[in-house]
């Protein structure tokens, strides 16, 4: 029997159903793996008992043949999701000790589907970061290393704990959230799959907000099929979120097909940008070939406002964040700095102590771009450019069914290597446009670079067409033959 921790979710599910192994055995194996991987710093809280409890329920119900979609599957949950009675801190000191008396819609869906929880996954503070270095718990260390080096690498971010845990085999799958690439970039860095669905597919209720008009939950796992399995459970209408889409959730897994006959793959010329390593462009070309091989026709498309996506994002996301994070004021939950006399002093001291440097930086930018005299020049302008970016995609999807690009402009970098905030922001140059347009997008591993680090290919679909994204992802997965796993050093 293959080690349980190297199996896919589909294999675990099917093996559990057929009685090959019990849910308890699965949970036990993963709990052990989590406990043995502390040096990755992937978890902020471990909840082995929760994993076992869900497994025991699954084992009991299996005999009664009342199987649920995720019975027997333990998952890692990004610390941005409120989990009832379990610390939920968004990787921030300001939420230290916060135990929500409620469960996010997405994780409630997972639990209802039978899934267990291995623990809460480390992340960039309030999901603001691309390297997991902004976490109040310290950075997650990627299980991957450069050939012949033991320099600690970042797993990307902000869903870095999720990416590291899945690629290290300490969780078969994990939830992530993506505001401007926070699922896809870490998936690419960690050699796993990660999908962000259309904005509104997953309810934001109970997910600590970063930038409300962009935040979207998604799934991260080793395979395209696993991502589909998880996303199908996570998605679904929730009347408590005004932006939740009131649409049935498609049967993504059942409809998976890598036959792309008759499909057109858009290749945006504006994504060939300076400074991207040749290896990445070469992988992109290989990706085009793979999709051709699957029956698709490549077409060159133009997304003319691509270069403005990042600056647009870095106005809108901080602006929304500056307001979303105003509630962390030391009054109702989380950190409060004592020893100050006035309310305003308490606010200032609490937020000074509670927020890290990157979060402060973004709150400052967001406050500035919304402030009197600057609102139109920055925020309104950015919302107009965002409309143009959305238009670009709408036009492009008249000519193609899915868009293929690289996921990130580099492979994983070393912890502490990128200190300039702007250079860090550039990590999401390929990921952000789809976020601004609310489109489904996915990263699928395509291969390793010369240093032995994973590189990802990025698929962007039209509104609500996650199926096309998953199918193209599957076609790549089948052809890339990506089976590399990080060598265990932890």
């Amino acid at each position: 029997m293959t080690e349980l921790t190297s199996r896919t979710i589909a294999e675990l599910r099917d093996g559990f159903r057929s009685g090959e192994f019990s849910a308890h055995e699965i949970a036990g194996a993963y709990n052990d793996a989590v406990a043995a991987a502390k040096s990755l710093n992937a978890f902020t809280v471990e909840t082995p008992d929760e994993a076992l409890a869900a497994a025991d329920v699954a084992d009991q119900t299996r005999l009664g043949s009342e199987l649920k979609p995720l019975s027997g599957i333990p998952l890692g949950i990004k610390d941005l999701f409120a989990t009832e009675g379990v610390d939920t801190t968004a990787g921030s000191n300001i939420l230290k000790g916060f135990r929500p008396p409620y469960e996010s819609h997405v994780t409630a869906n997972l639990r209802k589907a039978g899934a267990g929880m291995l623990g809460k996954l480390n992340m960039d503070e309030f999901a603001m970061g691309s390297s997991n270095e902004t976490s109040a718990y310290g950075p997650v260390i990627s299980p991957w290393r450069r050939k012949g080096s033991n320099v600690g690498l970042t797993p990307g971010g902000s869903s870095g704990g999720s990416a590291a845990a899945v690629s290290a085999g300490i969780a078969p799958g994990a939830t992530g959230t993506d505001t401007g690439g926070s699922i896809r970039q870490p998936a690419a860095f960690a050699g796993i799959c990660g999908i962000k669905p259309t904005y509104g597919r997953c309810s934001r209720w109970g997910i600590v907000a970063f930038a409300s008009s962009l935040d979207q939950a998604g799934s991260m796992a080793r395979t395209v099929r696993d991502c589909a399995i998880l996303l199908e459970v996570m998605a679904g209408f929730d009347p408590r979120d005004s932006t939740s889409l009131d649409l049935p959730v498609p049967r993504w897994e059942e409809n998976l097909s890598s036959d792309l006959s008759g499909k057109r793959v858009g290749i945006p010329k504006e994504y060939r940008i300076d400074g991207v390593p040749a290896e990445i462009n070469a992988l992109w070309d290989r990706g085009i070939e793979w999709l051709k091989d699957a029956g698709a026709t490549p077409v060159e498309i133009s997304l003319p406002h691509t270069k403005y996506a990042l600056p647009t994002y870095y106005i809108i996301a901080p602006a929304e964040a500056s307001s979303n994070l105003a509630r962390y004021d030391g009054v109702r939950y989380g950190l409060r700095e004592e020893g100050v006399k006035t309310l305003d002093d308490m606010y200032a001291a609490t937020r000074k102590a509670g927020f890290g440097a990157e979060v402060k930086r973004r709150i400052m930018i967001g406050t500035y771009v919304l402030s009197a005299g600057f609102y139109d020049a920055y925020f309104t302008k950015a919302q107009k450019v965002r409309a143009l970016i959305k238009q670009d995609f709408a036009k492009a999807f008249e000519q193609c069914d899915v868009i293929l690009t690289p996921t990130a402009p580099s492979a994983a970098f070393g912890i502490g290597e990128t200190t300039d905030p702007l250079a860090m922001y550039l990590n999401d140059v390929f990921a952000v446009p789809a976020s601004l347009a609310g489109l489904p997008a996915m990263s699928v591993p395509g291969g390793l670079d010369a240093q032995g680090l994973p590189l990802g290919l990025h698929l962007i679909g039209n509104e609500l067409d996650e199926q096309m994204v998953l199918n193209a992802g599957l076609a790549i997965e089948e052809r890339a033959g990506f089976t590399a796993r990080p060598e265990k050093w932890w």
Binding site: V331, R351, P421
Partner: protein
């Protein structure tokens, strides 16, 4: 546009983030760098373009007027740094 230390101090005050002079000084070039970079949006012709309001077209749903929440004071106060007699307590405010 570029920001001065005074402006940064003002923004920090608006955002209620305590900052030392040294922190302010350090933030000035960082913010100017970022702001200078985002100002490239000025190049984009947005005449006649409506600012995006909803990324995925849909109508705002309205809920029925039903009382189906509340009466959960313990849950509401459970995480409070300081709660007294059913209230949240904060340093005294003078109006």
């Amino acid at each position: 546009m570029s920001v001065s230390p005074e402006q940064v101090r003002h923004i920090a005050k608006l955002a209620r983030i305590g900052m030392s002079d040294a922190e302010i000084e350090a933030l000035v070039p960082e913010l100017n760098n970022i702001l200078g970079w985002v100002e490239q949006l000025g190049e984009v012709d947005t005449d006649g373009i409506e600012p995006l309001t909803a990324v995925i077209e849909q109508k705002l749903r309205l809920r029925d007027d039903v009382v189906n929440d509340g009466n959960i004071r313990d849950a509401v106060l459970a995480n409070a740094p300081e709660a007294q007699h059913g209230f949240f307590a904060v340093p005294k405010v003078i109006e």
